[in-house]
């Protein structure tokens, strides 16, 4: 016999209460929240779009926010969720984009931020073992006491967490060009798998999952609870150089020369247009394109790197930028992308992964697009390790002008499709853009889907990421086609 709606809701309510009581037996009640405002505040990331994709699907909203403090608490929680077939969304700082941290199926939001302890710093072997929920800034501060620093870390280090950088791939950031990407720095991770079992995974692991599967997995195979990292001694000198160029071609050439100089690789390397510099720092005292490099090593190596860069700049007619600007840019590197938010009410952006040899093609396609649909824009390229780069495109939109908003999104959509067609992809994948990945990288998607089905047959953990999408490409295409017509 079919129960009426009220009875169903009553039964669900009893289930929720029972579940709550059971998890409160192993997690302090203060960290088991059913407060609707707490849930709302914990249901998003940098992007605002997430909820709108699920707005008309009432069950997307979570019923609980739970904050485990230890691997054991996390494991017990995930076991309990599995027992009740309750969906789980794993999140920490929510500093990623595209709704990576957003619940899509209701259930429990597992907030990892209480897992922020440093368990061990081994100064002799230069390793650190810490909870995945620790912020990069806290880890960096702790390592400093030992004269150590991470080999690489994201420019969002002021807010983002270590675990997040692991599962979102960690291919771009401070130190990657010199020391390698996050994957190279990880010695092992403790993963609480979707069934709540705990496994330590290192390079030599022979289980279902390899370290490669976890890095860039966006948490679909479970929650990273602990991370063991190789770190390095802090460098003893640092210098910055910055040159501006009249043409993009010359700027890219200079950028490539610095990037491919294996003897003295920059600690940080970027290429931006004048708009970006002006929006990020207000005054930019020079030409249209700007290449910025930071060298950090022992004094001799740093000096060699800088000399090399200066010679190369001279040959390419690069115009040196004033020292105060270079220093300020470094000091506030984490803030530069965020500062653009001061110029508008609704900052829109998209991040792309573009191979070294396609930078100019990407830029030409981009400029062609924005020449047709004018909006306030900015271009920022940050070097990854050899082979690839993150390009971030900005659109400065007025929150009240929805035509402009969708128009800019339509431009980003065209560039994304073009990027995939040329064997590049998006840098960050989340709930709202997984459909691109599914359509344009079907082989990888299929591999991940099989693994996901095996480990999480009910699709309870971080659903609608990487292996499944609610959005359909034809609907998105139609939406943006209309948007371009109206804009």
């Amino acid at each position: 016999m079919k129960m009426n709606k009220a009875k169903v809701e009553e039964k669900q309510e009893i289930g929720k209460t029972k579940f709550t009581k059971e998890i409160e037996e192993f997690i302090p009640p203060a960290h088991v929240s059913t407060d609707m405002y707490d849930i709302e505040a914990t249901s998003g990331d940098l992007s605002l779009l997430s909820k709108y994709h699920y707005k008309f699907k009432q069950d997307y909203q979570a019923t609980h926010v739970v904050r485990p403090g230890t691997t054991e608490e996390l494991s017990n929680l995930m076991k309990k969720c599995r027992e009740y077939s309750i969906p789980m969304t794993i999140r920490a700082a929510g500093s990623s984009c595209y709704s990576s941290s957003t619940p899509t199926n209701g259930g429990v939001i597992i907030d990892m931020r209480r897992m922020d302890k440093i368990y061990e710093i081994d100064a002799n072997n230069k390793t650190v073992r810490c909870g995945a929920g620790i912020s990069w800034l806290r880890l960096i501060e702790a390592l400093l006491e030992y004269g150590l620093g991470p080999k690489c870390y994201p420019t969002s280090y002021k807010s983002s967490c270590v675990g997040g950088f692991v599962v979102t791939s960690g291919k771009v950031g401070i130190g990657v060009l010199k020391n390698g990407i996050m994957k190279d720095a990880i010695k092992s991770v403790v993963l609480v798998k979707t069934d709540g079992s705990v496994e330590t995974i290192s390079r030599n692991s022979q289980g279902d999952l390899s370290l490669d599967d976890i890095i860039g997995s966006f948490g679909i195979f479970g929650a990273v609870a602990e991370v063991e990292l190789q770190v390095s001694s802090l460098y003893t000198s640092m210098e910055m150089i910055g040159y501006s160029f009249k043409t993009f071609k010359m700027a890219v050439e200079f950028f490539r020369i610095l990037k491919n100089n294996d003897t003295n690789r920059p600690f940080f390397l970027s290429l931006s247009d004048k708009n970006f510099e002006k929006y990020a720092h207000w005054t930019f005292p020079s030409r249209t394109y700007f290449v910025y490099a930071v060298y950090s090593d022992d004094p001799s190596a740093t000096s060699q790197g800088v000399s090399f860069a200066k010679d190369a700049a001279l040959k390419l007619d690069g115009l040196g930028i004033e020292d105060w600007y270079l220093k300020e840019k470094w000091r506030n590197l984490a803030d530069t992308e965020l500062n653009i938010g001061r110029w508008c009410q609704n900052l829109i952006f998209q991040e792309y992964w573009v191979s070294d040899n396609r930078i100019e093609d990407f830029y030409n396609f981009y400029t062609e697009k924005i020449s047709k649909q004018k909006y306030r824009n900015a271009f920022y390229l940050m070097s990854g390790a050899k082979g690839g780069n993150r390009i971030k495109l900005f659109g400065l939109s007025d929150i009240k002008n929805s035509r402009e908003f969708f128009g800019i999104k339509a431009v980003f959509n065209d560039i994304t499709i073009n990027n995939y067609k040329n064997k590049d992809n998006l840098y960050t994948l989340g709930v709202v853009n997984t459909f691109y990945f599914l359509k344009y990288d079907p082989e990888r998607a299929e591999y991940l889907r099989k693994l996901k089905n095996k480990l999480d047959p009910e699709d309870l953990v971080n659903s609608y990421r990487l292996v499944k999408a609610k959005m359909r490409p034809w609907r998105v295409g139609l939406l943006f086609w209309i948007a371009k017509l109206l804009y």
């Binding site: 405002y37 914990t42 909820k51 907030d111 807010s159 720092h281 207000w282 300020e328 001061r342």
Partner: protein, 452 residues
Amino acid sequence: MNEKVSEDVKKVVTSGPTVSGMFAPDQENLVEPTSKSEEDYERCTQCGYCRLVCRVYNTTYAERDYAGGRNRILKSLKKKEIAFDKEKIIDAIYQCMLCGNCRTVCPSGIDTLEVFQTYRRTAVRKGVMPEKLQILKNSILTNKNPFLESGTDRFNWCDSQSCNEGHKAYERGAEHARKIAFGELKPSDIEEHLVGYFVGCTSAYRNNELSTATSRILDKMGVKFIVFPDEYCCGSVLFRTGLEDDAIELVHYNVDMIRKLGVNEIVFSCAGCFSTFTTEYNKFTEGDLGFELSHMVQFVPKVAKQKGLKIRYTKRTKEDPLIVTYHDPCHLGRYCNVYDEPRELIDMIEGVKLIEMKHNREMSWCCGAGGGVRALYGEISTDIASTRLDETVACWEDINEDRLKEAIETNAEVLVSACVFCKNNLHLAASQTKPDLPVIDLSQILEDCEFY
């Protein structure tokens, strides 16, 4: 690390992000935000900088409790995506000290203090009213103080026995007010620079050691000040908790009362009263209060310089100074930008030496008492104060290490502040967790000083 390498590393790491810490976005080359309004939360990019500095979040770990999370709630409320439940929303509104550290680090330049005070005000107008807050409100409106005390007992602290300096100031104030009331004296006829001491409710009813110390310091410095026999609560607690509508009457009353007396400068020992006059009173009088405002930490060094006075702490010597660390009160620092003067003052005192805590000035950690959190969420407030004490102890451990290196005998040190609420909350936490840690107000050190 050897010492040379350590020095080199320090030079490198203080110049950039490698380990540069959670500094404020203090770029000189940074444009002001395009718009600023009560609805500034719309511009929040959810970057999460404020999460790291929020003392409440770092105690509760709840996203609801820091500025970015609150901004998200505000956006959803505006779009009616979540319901406004006047009971359930109380914690999401009031579990915040309004310390302003989030405003300091916001790269979008959002005035979070304005946003959250507006949020509270709007919520109160919609019927949100925590029970304890209702009691405070009633007491302020009825008794002109938040402590349920009789208004007539406001000056019990300054009878001739317990504080003769305060008593004389009270008598001068009463006589001055009488002359004005009876037309024997016109404000325009007052030739001297008349200084009034606005005592404030907490110093008057709960922390007489502050009002007493302040009166004695002013007297020692030769300042012929008055207190205001008709002083009412400044309304600080009402402004901070969304009850601004009820505070306006107090603003007009106090301003009129002071103006009528022809006082040129008001001195405060309470950072809360000082910031309320500086920010809110100035706003309601369109920046034309008609008298100057000085906190004691500003007034003392100013007068000492004018009169060529030196200050010596009588309990210690130059060679064996009392080592203090200074806790910046939010109401003086982030609210009113008073950072240099208290340090300058401590520097002026022979026999006292200042050592900074890690988080100081704009990035100082809140003590946990502000914004109604002490009254409404005592436990959280104490937890937050305890973390500040941990930092104090850590700072002292560093000091002691240095001192041992220098083979100087270790002496007791104290944590000083210039806000009665900071003092009380930190003192309470210390009594529970670190009973050997003295927490005092700067005026209590000055009370033991000679001015010569």
